[in-house]
Amino acid sequence: MTFNWPDIPFSGTEVDAFVAEYKIVAEELYYNYPYDATELGTPFTNDLALKKYLEFGLVYAAFIVKQRAGNSGPGTDFILGNSPLGPTTAMDSPEKRRNIMKNLGCVATFGAMNNCWQENKEKDPTLDPYDELSPENEPWKGPIQDLMDTFSNLGSTGGPPDDPCDGFYAKYENVQTENSGLNQPLWSAILEVADSVLGFFSPNGYVSVQLLRRYLQGTGGTFNENSSWGSAAPYKYLHKVSIKEHINYWKNDSYAVSERNMSETWRNAFGLSATDKVYQVRFERNFLLASAYGTATVVVSADPKLGDFEVKRLVDDYDFIYGWEIIRSNTGIDVPGQPFNDLAITSGANRKSSPNTCDPNTTVCEAIDREGHHYAIRLPVASAMGQGCWDNWTDHPNPNNSGKPFTININFENI
């Protein structure tokens, strides 16, 4: 996992100093700095992708410094690379053809070919008899594709739209209205797509989507090891391992993993042994775990700094400041992870003008605008509640369809 730094094909006093510092900063950022990946622009949320940008970006950054240093003249121009186009004899043998195709980046695996098919067919869907995403075959895929395209085009001049009220939410409402008679709500169809995308990268993606699905279904209650895990069901152990790996990597960073001294009441409520340790864990550098939990309380069997340990339990409340929140007194057993009364559910902070003052005029866009991340996920959460603010979940005109927070209390001991 160490950086694979490229050679810098030029040197000089300024550029040498810059390159040395660049590597130090990149390594500090990548290995030691617990930033919140969910706050970054989309192309930077993936750790491995960011590492590649840092590696390859060094050459370009160094060249800019070299340009500025003014060491001009023959020999200091930078030959970036060879053209992939070869001479006419470049493809006159099978081996040469394989090589040039390889050099062009062609990958003949099933995944790569499937990807090419997916992309190419969209250019002329009328010629595609197998288009699984066409509106004719699946009534929800068309609207979602339309929605995503709208969202993406809004950001085509420089990233995602800064204001979701600017076009995208209107489009979301239109699509929702146009398809209101079909057999599943729009958010459910969006989660199907999110499940297939995020789950592909890691089982943690499935967990993230399943928790959101539970919220939007209005299930409430407690999510535990025996609940419906959806597509994540076969991957509970891998999920547990991911949590352990995250803690193990960040165990020496008190911001990311900090020990908590819980009361006896708390320890008894969650069935801890005398040797169990409790940590507040920020999952910020792991995008998918962060999407599921953000920050959670994790019980482990021993101090991670002193040796091996097992993840025994994870507790949290699953709620949204732009949707519904669970109000906890944090006294006794009224803490995240423990059962709650529905009367403790209230509109999130983004819908209030002060901590205890609901603003009934808060629109969906205003609620989202102040906080949060990926719009395609946030909009269904805020849209489920609709415009307004309610002190109690039960006061909502249609509470069962407005989303509902729940508590997370997963016992990993037998997983």
Binding site: Y33, T42, K52, T76, Q118, E119, H374
Partner: protein, 257 residues
């Protein structure tokens, strides 16, 4: 089946991606050496003025459902993933954004016109890089680089303007005073009188640090500006001068041999 990998994107920056689209001209040229052909380009960023990161940049719009969905759910794949690869333009744009962030964090003067490594801890510089790459609503505008990056460096007074083939040409009185030793000047045009002057103005919501200009002479400069051809018109208003990316040397090139 051809798949353009991230290595293609990183190692073969194409001229059209990195050309200065805002000026409507590219710095690249072709030159011949005997029987071979070489392309060269002055290296700069696609957006040579601002530091805010780019998102998805597929040149032909978001033609793939894959890229659109990834954008929608806010997740980015590993670059060598075979099923969810994104466009080379997006990969190149993302790397450019990281390059800018690293330059701003490491060099003095927010990375502008400097070759000197700045003082400060590596942790502090890493924080600057991350702050640079954050979504707009998450950025801390009170610290580097955003606290000073878009600062004005002066005001010049335009007195007449014209537009031909989507390039606006501005004359100033007195002389603008911008040194031709630098190629990183930009302006935020704010004209308030004259026929059709509103179409020449630059919105800082779209271009937070203005648009790049090309200095023609001591009293004239040009900038990309889409609109109908317009004869010379007397105007009043201001051109707020900004500094973006670039340097003092224009004689070093990236070569594609």
């Amino acid at each position: 089946m051809i798949k353009t990998t991230y290595l293609q994107a990183f190692n073969h920056f194409n001229l059209s991606v990195e050309e200065n689209q805002l000026l409507g001209v590219g710095a690249g040229s072709t030159i011949s050496f005997g029987s071979s052909l070489t392309f060269y380009d002055i290296f700069n960023f696609k957006d040579p003025m601002d530091i805010a990161p780019t998102g998805f940049l597929s040149k032909s719009g978001f033609t793939t459902i894959t890229e659109a969905v990834l954008n929608g759910v806010g997740y980015f794949p590993p670059l060598d993933d075979e099923n969810f690869h994104v466009s080379p333009e997006t990969v190149q744009g993302a790397m450019s954004s990281v390059t800018k962030a690293m330059l701003a964090a490491i060099l003095d003067n927010n990375g502008k016109r400097s070759t000197t490594v700045g003082i400060g801890s590596s942790r502090g510089k890493a924080e600057t890089v991350i702050n640079t790459l954050k979504q707009k609503t998450k950025r801390d505008l009170t610290v580097a680089p955003y606290n000073t990056w878009r600062d004005s460096v002066g005001i010049i007074t335009p007195t007449s303007i014209s537009r031909t083939n989507n390039v606006a040409i501005v004359t100033t009185t007195p002389a603008h005073g911008l040194s031709t030793a630098f190629d990183d000047w930009g302006v935020v045009m704010n004209l308030n009188s004259g026929i059709g002057t509103a179409s020449f103005n630059i919105s800082t919501s779209t271009y937070p640090n203005g648009v790049p200009i090309r200095i023609i002479d001591s009293t004239t400069f040009a900038y990309a500006n889409i609109g109908i051809n317009t004869d010379w018109t007397n105007i009043s208003g201001t051109a707020d001068v900004r500094v973006g990316w670039g340097g003092t040397s224009i004689n070093l090139h990236l070569y594609y041999a």
